[in-house]
């Protein structure tokens, strides 16, 4: 079957349906038989079709990044205790915030006094970026990262803020950023899905819908990889011996081919058959991917796999898996947080203990990931994003917690196309509101797409009567953090 005749016979819809088969356009072309599996393709007409009629070729311009690792800090890290030092909080510790500034309603509305940070801040590296003692390992990597201190979100509740961060809209059911990216770019690996969530143990509020494909075809949703022997649902054959399954598959193929012979061309059935080949290969490739024991001891140590803290070990394993996924060309990898004793980063009380438990779990693994990527030359083509859904208040909730603050928070980015060692944006003296370079989630999304070579205004999908984008009708690339 030649691809041009195939085009002829297929409606755009069927074409799209085919493109939707898990591995994006590469698989499509493979199915058509014109191009062997595994061939890397960057710009093809089929991709335009896959992009739902957006104009121009994807990538729209040369890409800096090939993959993204999104380190999701579930619950909201306190910016004034991590990357945005505020000496004034120490000076005014215990004073009434209402006398200092206009206090907005918070979720619990249990407004306490101004609360100084329990951690000291120090400057690190050539760039002299300030980092608190919460993150001693990440601090050693500051010359590779760009900190944004001026993030804002639209939502003060976890669920909506999560949907907003993950899908660009604060409601349930929209495509996740990983889904958008795979819809636009496809995967570079024909044996693995292009969007993987490494489940660290905590599913964010809002549930798995944070990782779904919404109105985009289901094939673009995340594959959730658990840690452990069976990382992906149904990836392990139930047959005790592979020969049994092999014989079944051979028989099935024989029967399916017979059906094709009988009814003639039926693209849908042909692609369903090819699907089995992919699934079969995944049965081998996914367990191989998860076999991190083969990494050197030094590497494992770098990620904290020998730590006394089981949470550091489990998050370290996820980070290492993330690198292995990047090596295999997976486009978008998100890591969720491990289940430490304190609930996520969401310290409405017990800030010191809770943030320390969380930080201890992720600090060494993340620093290890950055160093490992860099030493292997992968950091140049990988964008690493460290972000939460919102920040926390500079005043206490009760006496020793902090409530949600969507009006200012800090995130950082590292790797492909990022101006390393930069601090961008500024908050007021309390770290409560943004005063310079206000940056939205839409801006973050636009920037992520930009680094992948995608114009966020041109990556659209027609749904509900209009062309919808990840960035809705907003978003500007954050030029200030780009090389």
């Amino acid at each position: 079957m030649k691809s041009h005749t195939c085009n002829h016979r297929m409606s755009r819809r069927e074409m799209l349906t085919l493109c939707r088969n898990g591995f994006g356009s590469v698989a499509l072309l493979g199915l058509m038989g014109s191009i062997p599996f595994g061939t890397k393709l960057l710009a093809t007409t089929e991709k335009i079709a896959a992009a739902g009629g957006g104009t121009g070729l994807i990538p729209h311009f040369p890409a800096k990044a090939r993959s993204i690792i999104f380190l999701y800090m579930d619950g909201g890290i306190s910016q004034v205790d991590s990357f945005d030092p505020k000496p004034r909080l120490a000076k005014e510790n215990g004073q009434n915030p209402y006398e200092k500034f206009e206090v907005q309603a918070t979720q619990f509305n249990n407004i306490g006094k101004i609360l100084k940070s329990p951690w000291d801040f120090r400057q690190y590296g050539d760039s002299g970026i300030w980092v608190s003692d919460l993150f001693p390992h990440i601090a050693t990597c500051v010359d590779d990262i760009a900190v944004i201190r001026s993030m804002v979100s639209d939502f003060p509740e976890h669920t909506n803020a999560n949907y907003f961060l993950h899908t660009g809209i604060g409601i349930q059911g929209r495509p996740s950023m990983g889904a958008w990216i795979n819809y636009g770019l496809g995967s570079e690996n024909e044996d693995l899905p292009g969007y993987v969530v490494l489940d660290g143990g905590l599913t964010p509020p809002g549930g798995l819908d944070n990782f779904k494909s919404g109105f985009l075809p289901a094939s673009f949703q995340a594959s959730i990889f658990n840690s452990g022997e069976m990382p992906l649902a149904n990836i392990r054959p139930l047959e005790n011996e592979s020969a049994i399954q092999d014989q079944k598959l051979r028989f099935m193929q024989q029967m399916d081919q017979r059906l094709l012979g009988k009814i003639g061309h039926a693209d849908q059935i042909e692609s369903a058959i090819s699907n089995y080949e992919l699934a079969y290969r995944m049965q081998a490739s996914v367990p191989e991917l998860a076999a991190i024991a083969g990494e050197t001891r030094a590497t494992q140590n770098l990620y904290g796999l020998f730590s006394d803290d089981p949470n550091t070990r489990s998050y370290g394993a996820q980070c290492l898996l993330a690198r292995r996924l990047v090596e295999r060309g997976v486009r978008f990898i998100e890591l969720t947080c491990p289940r430490v004793k304190a609930d996520r980063w969401d310290q409405h009380q017990g800030l010191k203990e809770g943030h320390e438990l969380n930080a201890h779990a992720v600090d060494q693994p993340i620093a290890g990931l950055l160093k490992d990527l860099k030493s292997r030359g992968l950091l140049e083509e990988t964008l690493v994003v460290f972000a939460c859904e919102f920040g926390r208040t500079p005043f206490a909730q009760g006496t020793d917690g902090r409530d949600h603050n969507p009006s200012a928070f800090s995130i950082w980015l590292a790797g492909a196309g990022i101006k390393a060692g930069t601090v961008y944006g500024m908050t007021d003296e309390y770290g409560y509101n943004v005063v310079e370079n206000k940056t939205t989630i839409h801006d973050l999304h636009a920037t992520m797409l930009h680094l992948l070579g995608v114009d966020h205004e041109r990556l659209t999908y027609h749904f509900s009567g209009r062309d919808i984008r990840l960035t809705d009708v907003h978003g500007q690339v954050i030029k200030g953090i780009l090389t």
């Binding site: 002829h8 016979r9 297929m10 819809r13 349906t17 085919l18 898990g22 104009t55 309603a105 979720q107 619990f108 509740e157 976890h158 669920t159 909506n160 409601i171 349930q172 899905p193 599913t203 509020p205 809002g206 549930g207 798995l208 819908d209 919404g214 075809p217 289901a218 094939s219 594959s223 992906l232 649902a233 149904n234 054959p237 139930l238 020969a243 049994i244 014989q247 079944k248 024989q254 029967m255 399916d256 017979r258 059906l259 009814i263 003639g264 039926a266 849908q268 059935i269 692609s271 369903a272 699907n275 089995y276 992919l278 079969y280 995944m282 049965q283 027609h462 509900s464 009567g465 209009r466």
Partner: protein, 1021 residues
């Protein structure tokens, strides 16, 4: 309604005529020829079919109906504006003269300053598009109303078809177009394919081998028709078609978000749909019930049990998402209503009104005022628990309860009279002393100098509801006094009730609610004086229902004392918000409502105050009332407050002690009778509240409102009726506008959905979007014929389905005849029946049916979802359901938003957030992995194998049985041979491993497993 539309339509020309001409000329819409002389381009392009698609795709964003984004004050979506003088001279369009039309100059220009669309839009018109515009302008630039806004009319039919019936008409239009295209359709499918197709599409289940062989051996002319009628009458029909509807109304049993709270009783609505489809409830009735089923004066009663079905219809409104403890409940209300507008407008009208939340619709004639008119109607409605199972007999029982209470009173009264007779010498009878002076009534509202203030929101001690709404039966039609709730633990009657809004009217456990009118919160506290058991008081602010910690815990109070108690709620945080108070027998447990059978409540008054709680007047009573008169009047049910007070004095002093013993039997029988109207099952649906008229939210933002409010009205593009009811929520008028036979969309949208579900693609492919951005119909005349016929046949969905499946078009083979493959690759002319993958539900149900594990029980609570280790997150159900879902059909599996069945999702069951009339059909490895490795599939294969082996039969007979069950056909000789080879190979393997004992079961299990994996099994041919 129709009249307004006529203005736009030409009396003799029909909007589809040009298309027919084009088709007759063998014109194919795409692709255009590239040659300069444009062969195949129509001489007179049609606005709807050629011009609007160009303008809409390229121009309307800046020159369309949305005034907020309009550039250069130019709009091109109507004749008057597009032909008006331009701001800087000239005319965009000069009808009849393309050369003088600025539009044409601009779209053909290469000068970046002149060029349209401008370079930044990154859109360029093709030469063909420009040529079409040129011809259209030269021919007079005729604008037409969008096709779907013109009411359908029956197209002219050849005489021979006048009485031939709808099936013949379907084939006439399909064949007419095939002829126009010069195509010969595929032949009729063989009978095996026909019955499998029919069975899956009508019932979602495969035919049994017996049904197949009966059909094959039936040589009568109407053999096929008999199968169709049998399937239409099958109870499984409703299970299949209700699920289609559930896709439209985003049916769910939990609310998603952080904790995935229950939508209590959602399954009642699912069962309601199954019954409705099975009983072929007319579609217009179904629509009315969805929008206003709670308001019908003569509701539809279930055919089997006579209970009120209509009231269940509005339950779908409550099935949107629900946020845990939102910081802004006004925003939450806006988001919930937005979802309701989105779902109702897509489902019933095939329009995306949701776009008009922030601005006038960019493409469709839907202004923001349409959106906020609907918003006001939905904001006026209140959510309430609605009981399942109320019958027409309930009111008679209530009257009987009243009579029985009177009888009990008579008996007790007689006892009192006897006691009084004995007491007589002790009670000197003075004339009643008048009260010293009537106290000035307390003002309803007051503000003191110290800043204390209060407002009496309702005082029920004076004998009326003070403007509050009594819904349902519980509180009757006015406050009552003198009634009692018999306490079986105490021996004697100790008090009769003073007047209050009370459930003593009938008895405990009777559903209903008392609700205040809407008010604006202006005070710090709300206080309600009430007594009762297992009942609640809630302050419902901005219609917010998920009342709970951490923010909202204080605005709901459980009534837990049988003594009058003041319940105080701190509402200072929500000053300026709209609210109402709700007194409800029953409780919410994690937002699921239930009514204990002993629940009751009564309320004296409700106040709002700041500073100090207002001291309410204590009623004063006349002294020296003749107790005998008081008791006699009480027996007759006419005692005044003073007389009731007198009786209570006597009871309190134990001067009289009527014993319950003497009325034990009557009380027991009365109590028993209350249980006859006790309804344990509830859905949350709509009830009426105050009319609310919404302002326009500027750019859709909460907090930024227009100065005017929008009257309740229906979509402007369809109905410009100014007499739309402004009473109540307006939902009845809304329902009437949707089901008006002249509504151009309702019938078209529904018959198109039916066509889509049967044929796999709608006549209008975009089944949920009939607006300007939707696809044009492939067979406009046929669509209109079916729409009109649908209404003429009493909106019967089954009749329409029957007409379609009886057609030749439906019965065609899926094999494609080779010339057709190139002439019409998209099968727009329906030259063959398209091969399609079965839906998630049909695949799973088919597996169960074949393995012999299907439990065909209908209705009831959903089966909890089976939880895998991959299904994590907050709100995870405590218990995992069985792997096989107890063998129940998939429609009975729980739909929990955050914990949807992975197998259903992987095979494209939509996530329930919006209307999905057209499911995706994807092809992902997870599907293969599920069928290959999911324990459910393997387990069922094992059961099937056991079933096959349970009766003695030859290997060949068993293979034949497998084919009959899975594919509704006999295996070919070659297939039999291949199966035998496979069985032998597997057996060899197991034997080689020394597993002799299990060989037979294993090899058949393996074989059955492969069958579930075959493409023929998961596809319809």
């Amino acid at each position: 309604m129709a009249k307004a539309i006529k203005i736009f339509s030409w009396p003799y020309l029909r909007w589809w005529m040009p298309l027919v001409v084009l088709l007759a000329a063998g014109f194919v819409v795409k692709p255009w020829g590239r040659e300069k002389n444009f062969p195949g381009l129509p001489e007179t392009p049609d606005y709807n079919y050629h011009i609007r698609p160009i303008l809409s795709a390229n121009c309307y964003v800046c020159h369309g109906p949305d005034s907020s984004s309009r550039e250069a004050n130019l709009r091109l979506d109507n004749f008057a504006d597009a032909t008006a003088p331009l701001e800087d001279g000239g005319f965009a369009i000069v009808p009849g003269n393309a050369a003088r039309s600025e539009l044409l100059r601009r779209v053909s220009s290469h000068d970046p300053d002149l060029q349209m669309p401008p370079p930044k839009a990154k859109k360029v018109l093709s030469e063909t598009e420009i040529e079409l515009l040129r011809r259209w302008i030269d021919k007079g630039a005729e604008w037409k109303t969008h096709w779907s806004f013109i009411p359908p009319e029956k197209p002219r039919l050849p005489r021979k078809l006048k009485k031939a019936g709808a099936t013949a008409v379907v084939d006439y239009f399909i064949e007419k177009e095939l002829e126009n295209r010069g195509l010969t359709p595929s032949p009729e499918a063989d009978k095996n394919v026909q019955i499998r197709r029919l069975s899956y599409l009508l019932t979602g289940l495969p035919p049994t081998p017996e049904e197949v062989s009966a059909f094959l051996s039936d040589s009568s002319d109407n053999a096929y028709e008999k199968v169709v009628d049998r399937l239409l009458d099958s109870p499984h029909f409703g299970e299949r078609w209700a699920r289609h509807w559930m896709d439209l109304v985003r049916y769910a049993e939990s609310m998603g978000h952080e904790f995935d709270y229950n939508v209590g009783g959602a399954w009642h609505y699912r069962d309601y749909l199954i019954r409705a489809f099975n009983e072929d409830v007319p579609y217009n009735q179904l629509v009315v019930e969805h929008l206003a089923g709670d308001m019908l004066t003569s509701p539809r009663l279930s055919s089997a049990q006579g209970f009120n079905e209509s009231v269940i219809g509005t339950a779908f409104f409550y099935m949107g998402e629900g946020k845990h403890s939102p910081v802004s409940i006004k925003q939450e209300e806006a988001d919930r209503i937005d979802n309701m507008i989105d779902v109702t407008s897509k489902t019933f009208q095939g329009l995306t009104v949701g776009c008009a939340r922030c601005h006038d619709h960019k493409f469709d004639p839907i202004p923001t005022t349409d959106y906020y008119a609907m918003y006001g109607m939905l904001e006026s409605a209140r959510f309430t628990p609605q009981p399942i199972g109320q019958t027409a007999a309930d009111e008679e029982i209530l009257a009987m309860l009243d009579r029985q209470q009177t009888a009990i009173r008579q008996k007790l009264g007689e006892q009192m009279m006897e006691s009084l007779d004995k007491l007589k010498p002790l009670t000197p009878l003075l004339p009643p002393t008048p009260l010293p002076q009537t106290p000035t009534p307390k003002p309803k509202e007051q503000m003191s100098e110290e800043g204390n203030s209060y407002k009496i929101l309702g005082d029920f001690r004076k004998g009326d509801f003070d403007g509050w709404y009594s819904n349902g039966f519980a509180f009757g039609d006015k406050p009552v006094g003198g009634k009692f709730l018999p306490d079986t633990n105490s021996c004697c009657l100790t008090a009769v009730s003073p007047p209050s809004a009370s459930m003593r009217k009938y008895g405990p456990g009777i559903h209903g609610a008392l609700r205040s009118p809407n008010f604006t919160i202006n005070h710090d506290f709300i206080e309600v004086r009430a007594a009762g058991k297992n009942s609640i008081i809630r302050t419902v602010i901005d219609n917010f229902q998920l009342i709970q910690w951490p923010i909202y815990g204080d605005i709901s109070k459980t009534i837990e004392s049988e003594e009058m108690t003041n319940y105080r709620m701190d509402v200072a945080m929500w000053k300026g918000h709209k609210a109402y108070i709700e007194i409800l027998p029953g409780l919410f447990d994690r937002h699921t409502y239930s009514l204990p059978s002993d629940a009751w409540a009564e309320v004296e008054y409700a106040t709002a105050w700041t500073g100090t709680s207002p001291e309410m007047e204590v009623p004063r009573f006349l002294a020296n009332i003749d107790p005998a008169v008081a008791v006699r009047n009480w027996m007759a049910g006419t005692a005044t407050s003073d007389e009731l007070h007198r009786i209570n004095e006597l009871l309190k002093n134990k001067k009289i002690q009527p014993s319950f013993k003497s009325v034990k039997k009557e009380v027991e029988s009365w109590y028993k009778l209350t249980q006859k109207v006790y309804r344990p099952g509830y859905i949350i649906g709509f009830t009426e509240g105050d009319s609310v008229f919404s302002p326009v939210f500027i750019r859709g933002k909460v907090g930024q409102y227009s100065e005017f409010t929008v009257p309740h009205q229906f979509l402007y593009a369809i109905s410009k009726d100014e007499k739309f009811s402004q009473k109540g929520s307006g939902r009845m008028a809304w329902a009437a506008a949707v089901t008006d036979p002249s509504n151009p969309l309702t019938s078209r949208v529904m018959v198109n959905r039916i066509w889509h579900y049967l044929f796999g693609r709608g006549i209008v492919e975009t089944v949920d979007n009939f607006g300007l951005q939707g696809k044009l119909p492939t067979h406009p005349e046929l669509l209109d014929y079916l729409a009109v016929n649908f209404v003429e046949e009493g909106w019967s969905m089954k009749k329409t389905i029957r007409h379609l499946v009886l057609s030749q078009a439906f019965r065609r083979s899926s094999e494609v005849i080779s010339p057709n493959e190139n002439a019409d690759p998209e099968n727009l002319s329906w030259h063959h029946f398209p091969v399609r993958r079965l839906e998630a539900e049909a695949i799973r149900d088919g597996i169960l049916a074949i393995s012999g594990c299907l439990d065909s029980a209908m209705f009831g609570h959903s089966v909890p979802i089976h939880l895998t280790p991959f299904m994590t997150g907050r709100g995870r159900p405590d218990v995992s359901g069985p792997l096989d879902g107890s063998g129940r059909r998939s429609i009975y599996l729980a739909i929990r938003r955050n914990f949807l069945s992975p197998m259903m999702l992987v095979f494209d069951m939509p996530m329930p957030f919006s209307t999905f009339g057209n499911r995706n059909v994807t092809n992902v490895p997870a599907q293969s992995l599920t069928l290959m490795n999911d324990p459910f599939v393997q387990e069922e294969a094992g059961y099937w194998a056991e079933k096959l082996l349970s009766t003695p039969a030859s290997q060949e007979a068993r293979i034949r049985s497998v084919y009959q069950q899975a594919f509704s056909r006999e295996p070919t000789e070659e297939e039999k041979l291949q199966a035998e080879n496979f069985l032998e190979k597997q057996a060899d393997y197991y034997r080689s491993k020394g597993r002799e004992a299990e060989v037979e079961r294993q090899v058949w299990s393996d074989y059955c497993h492969t069958i579930f994996n075959l493409k023929e099994f998961i596809h319809l041919l």
